[in-house]
């Protein structure tokens, strides 16, 4: 089985290296095919491993030593257990799909080969992240995905906005990584190891305050990667990258790494329920917060990104409340339908020549039937309509909130579910229904390549039927995660809740259709009453948070840096050194006239010297006598 482990892990790396060999040459189809093929290999290996793990085994290997100093010992160790294998499956499925899809999507791009190098490298990093058997290995993957995310967001490096977004993403993630790093340090100095098994065995013996700090710092790391408030702004900006990237990295895999971390570290978070409640509360807040921003946004990809953010909030609610398996389940389901949604959006973008404003589209269902169906179904799944994947995973989270008696969280999530349905179908309605507003802009949309649609189909299927695997999945992960079943004891309550939620959601969908699927929709010009309302502006400007960050952090930092250089470094530190040197030199300049070359004054200096010496002699001897007497 170790062989499959290594194949699953390194096949993407090989693909990446292969692609990077050609990264400077013009587009070559084979690069995409090889990379996709290798990813498929990886997927197959993962699948084999899955079946093996389902047989009740796990695979744990240690490839080689990485860092060993003092008592610290960090190997390149990999583990395939019930949790990681689920993640491996998600990662390899989505990335295989995205790879194949990208062959079509990046067809006309000059950086085709480079794209695949980065993309496969990302998958490799992600695999390292999920398969590592220790926190340091996790951190390698953690940073690796950050790097690839940087490279892919800024893939079109000639665009200022893209590179800016890339740097923003990297730096914000770094802020969180610091927290993660500190968490790792705490773990090491308190348990003496970074291996999961050792740490989790040891963590119960630690003081609770230490565990709390560990939990907090690790979660700070998770907040960055999963773009939780207040480190969320990068995710929306990251949409500057090519759409397959958004599908893979910023929807399905990388952003869920934070959730994975919390799930993985469940023995730690189990000990600190207070931190868990904080996580859950933050998750609930982010769910609502992000959904609210999605309501008014006019950028197709950003809407989906906010939706992702919102769904991450859901996952954190589940993880925070101790329902780790639920979180992981939603993670999986979400990966499928959200990736699908993004890829669909990619098709639309292609059709619309990179136009992102849904108000400028409309009526596309006629020309893009396949995409229309896929996106609609994905949105249905996202909204959580029975029997699609979202229903099983999302409703479960609501139930968890209810069962754990966190009614505020429950209410927030319920409202968010409605909002989710509304903005999802606002988008669908604006893109595919109503009048063909794009004609105003002289665009001639066309459907994407057929193989791209075919490539997307596995995701469609999974988005539809993933819920059916719920019990299988539960059986699998209960070996590793707390196997709590969340049942609402009263059947009546259960049915009222479930049906009520469904009705609420459907109502939201219908409202969205009513408002946006008619022919009266026009491109907003900023004059309508709604657009000038305070709430709209607040949401439109993302609660002014990017602006605040710019004003409070970026600009002062730049200004402070300038002051540090020009005022402190040059004018104080360096000037002091120069002043000492100049002072010495000036003293020389100012006193050299003592040597004026005149013999008389030279003689006088000698006599003065003598007189001074004599005076001192007399003074001293008088003093000596006085003291002596």
């Amino acid at each position: 089985m170790e062989l499959y482990l290594y194949i699953a892990l390194f096949a993407p790396l090989v693909g990446s290296l292969y692609a990077s060999l050609f990264s400077r040459s013009p587009k070559s189809q084979h690069v995409g095919i090889v990379a996709s093929g290798l990813l498929f290999t990886s997927f197959v290996s993962s699948a084999i491993l899955l079946s093996y793990v389902m047989g009740g085994h796990t695979v744990h290997t240690e490839m080689m030593t990485w860092i060993a100093a003092g008592d610290l010992y960090i190997p390149f160790g990999f583990v395939v257990d019930q949790v990681s294998v689920v993640m491996m499956m998600v990662v390899t499925i989505v990335s295989t799909v995205v790879h194949v899809y990208s062959i079509g999507y990046m067809d006309h791009d000059k950086g085709f080969n480079r794209f695949f190098a980065w993309l496969s490298a990302f998958v490799f990093s992600m695999m390292v992240l999920v398969m590592s058997d220790n926190f340091a290995g996790l951190f390698i993957g953690w940073e690796g995905v950050g790097l690839c995310s940087w490279g892919l967001i800024g893939f079109w490096y000639h665009k200022e906005s893209a590179t800016w977004a890339a740097n923003e993403a990297f730096i914000m993630n770094r802020i969180a990584d610091l927290g993660m790093l500190i968490g790792i340090f705490l773990i090491y100095w308190n348990t003496g190891s970074l291996q999961y098994d050792v740490v989790f065995a040891e963590v119960g013996n630690l003081q609770i305050v230490v565990v709390t700090w560990i939990g907090i710092f690790l979660f700070i790391g998770a907040m960055g990667k999963s773009a939780q408030f207040p480190l969320h702004t990068w995710l929306a900006d990251a949409m500057e990258g090519p759409t397959p990237v958004s599908a893979l990295i910023h929807a399905a895999t990388m952003v869920t790494a934070g959730v994975y971390l919390v799930v993985r570290a469940n023995p730690i978070y189990d000990l600190i329920p207070n931190v868990g409640i904080f996580i859950a509360s933050l998750g609930a807040f982010v769910a609502l917060f992000a959904a609210s921003m999605a309501l008014v946004n006019r950028d197709m990809k950003r809407i989906i990104a906010y939706s992702t953010l919102s769904q991450l909030g859901y996952m954190f609610v589940a993880a925070g409340l101790g329902a780790y398996w639920v979180a992981l389940f939603h993670l999986m389901a979400h990966a499928f339908f959200k990736a699908l949604l993004f890829l669909g959006a990619g098709n639309v973008m292609h059709a619309m020549h990179d136009e992102l404003d849904p108000f400028k589209m409309g009526g596309l269902r006629k020309v893009m039937k396949g995409t229309f169906i896929m996106m609609t179904l994905a949105s249905v799944a996202l909204a959580g309509i029975y029997p699609f994947a979202g229903f099983f995973s999302k409703d479960l989270i609501l139930e968890v909130g209810f069962v754990e008696h966190h009614y505020v969280i429950y209410t927030v999530l319920l409202v968010t579910a409605g909002l989710t349905a509304f903005y999802s179908f606002r988008l669908v309605a604006l893109i595919f229904h109503g009048e063909e507003r794009y004609k105003l802009f002289g665009i001639h949309p066309h459907e994407a390549y057929k193989f791209m649609l075919v490539a997307m189909s596995p995701l469609l299927v999974l988005a539809m039927i993933a819920g059916a695997f719920k019990m299988t999945y539960f059986q699998l992960v209960m070996n590793l995660l707390p196997a709590t079943q969340y049942h609402i004891h009263s059947q009546t309550t259960f049915w009222i809740m479930t049906i009520g939620t469904q009705l609420f959601v459907i109502a939201a969908i219908l409202f969205a259709y009513k408002k946006y699927a008619n022919s009266g929709v026009s491109v907003p010009d900023g004059t309508s009453k709604m657009e000038n309302s305070f709430v709209y502006k607040l949401l439109w400007n993302q609660y002014y948070i990017p602006k605040i960050y710019d004003e409070v952090f970026s600009k002062p930092y730049a200004e402070l840096s300038r002051i540090a250089w020009k005022q402190i470094d040059l004018k104080i530190v360096d000037a002091t050194v120069d002043a000492i040197a100049n002072g010495i030199y000036k003293t020389g300049e100012n006193t050299r006239h003592i040597q004026n070359g005149n013999l008389s004054s030279m003689l006088r200096w000698m006599v003065v010297g003598l007189v001074v010496l004599m005076t001192l002699a007399v003074a001293f001897s008088v003093g000596y006598n006085v003291v002596g007497a």
């Binding site: 050299r592 006239h593 040597q595 070359g597 005149n598 013999l599 008389s600 003689l603 006599v607």
Partner: protein, 101 residues
């Protein structure tokens, strides 16, 4: 009044002081040389006197040597002075400052 050693020493000191003042004040090279001679001879007076009062000859020896040295000093000094005078036509100290700083 008996002349004691102190008187000699005071005389010597006064002479020395005169010499010092001369060295400091004189701008004429020749007068400067005179002043240095006064300095040396002031010492001679003291040496001779001390030698006499403590009954030891080395003081007088010292004085003789000083006289000899002073004589050769004058020889050198006058030589330099003459050359200087021939080159510049002056023996004024204030003219002598081509090197400074």
């Amino acid at each position: 009044m008996e002349i004691t050693l102190t008187h000699y020493l005071v005389l010597s000191s006064i002479l020395f002081a005169i010499g010092l003042i001369g060295v400091m004040r004189r701008k004429n090279l020749l007068m400067l040389f005179f002043a240095t001679e006064i300095l040396l001879n002031a010492t001679n007076v003291a040496f001779a006197a001390i030698s006499h009062y403590i009954g030891d000859l080395s003081g007088q020896m010292f004085a003789f040597f000083i006289i000899a040295v002073a004589a050769s000093e004058v020889a050198i000094g006058l030589g330099l002075l003459i050359v200087w005078y021939k080159r510049t036509g002056k023996i004024d100290l204030d003219q002598m400052n081509s090197m400074r700083g």
